[in-house]
Symmetry: C2
Subunit: 223 residues, 2 copies
Amino acid sequence: MTKAIIIVAGGSGTRMGSAIPKQFLMLAGKPILMQTIEVFFHFDKNIEIILVLPENQIGYWENLKREFEFDIPHKTTSGGAERFFSVKNGLSMVSEATEVIGIHDGVRPLVNQQTVSSCYEKAFEHGAAIPVIQIKDSIRKMREEGSKAVNRDDFCFVQTPQCFSKDVITKAYQQEFNKSFTDDASVAEAAGFHIQLTPGNTENIKITSPSDLIIAEQLLKIC
Amino acid sequence: MTKAIIIVAGGSGTRMGSAIPKQFLMLAGKPILMQTIEVFFHFDKNIEIILVLPENQIGYWENLKREFEFDIPHKTTSGGAERFFSVKNGLSMVSEATEVIGIHDGVRPLVNQQTVSSCYEKAFEHGAAIPVIQIKDSIRKMREEGSKAVNRDDFCFVQTPQCFSKDVITKAYQQEFNKSFTDDASVAEAAGFHIQLTPGNTENIKITSPSDLIIAEQLLKIC
């Protein structure tokens, strides 16, 4: 199977209370984004890596690469106003020969090899697959007339990479943008494709706050 | 307002891969359960603290108290086969004069004063209140015909303490036990009471796995 991974990093840094966008913050001595890219390179040395960054961060990234002597081959392109358009830009860079395309959050460096591998395999077989994990905490549904307890076993958390056959994801992203698209699976679903679920890993958190970064440092030590 | 807190600790330790039940594991130099009790004592020196432990752990707890010279006043009672029956046992120990009763997970030592205070206040006003936080990750609903993306903004995570006027929680716990009771709010809701929501704090995690314990250690440092 020939593979590509589109890594989307759109953070501006404001939620982190930091001037540096979250994807460039240091995790175990290296910018988060480099840690994330390494996971996919380690998974498959021949994977086509496409990085989507806000236009005004591309120069900063080039500097970081020099500073850290980061030499994993990848293409870089600029993002759009919404994640949907960033992914679309990434998709336009994928080579003709690629069979399965993954889309991954740049700030999820703790995804493990098992999660990545199962997701690509299942997408290769069925067209679309995403990693999910159980919800441990109680959840409630908010409604206009008040909230209501729901059974958490009826729900699951969605992680990335979300993987698709080239045909599926290309067709899905030909749709018009819709605010209800929460992730790539919801885009594919809206285009009529059925999504398979594969097991994610609990450490595969999205780093969006300073406490997430501290947690990630600790999780890296025990993973 | 006169208050009580029922702290329920039913863990047996198996999920932690440890012989020691999770509520007794060390967090910042002290058993988790002591950290949890201290939060409520700090909130109100006159709060009535009722601890519910599995029968066969009460002796161990007494030993720990001596070892750590733990002198916060509290009553201890034994738990039942289900959390529902443990809470019921705790409720039977609450003093006549108590107006608002909170019920809290023993393994949530990181609840902050603001969360606790808002919850008691709102329960005092409205009869029933629980702390909730936003869901950051994408979630899906699992159905027989396959899963489906749902809007995470329509859902929230539920934390503890869950607080109730004495009248509300007493009536609620007169119901027969039902497997659908996921927390105390769902018990009160089944009895026809309306639940108010108050803001929780993101650090208020339930410590149920070894990685949670590592995360909690780090969160304690920055809280």
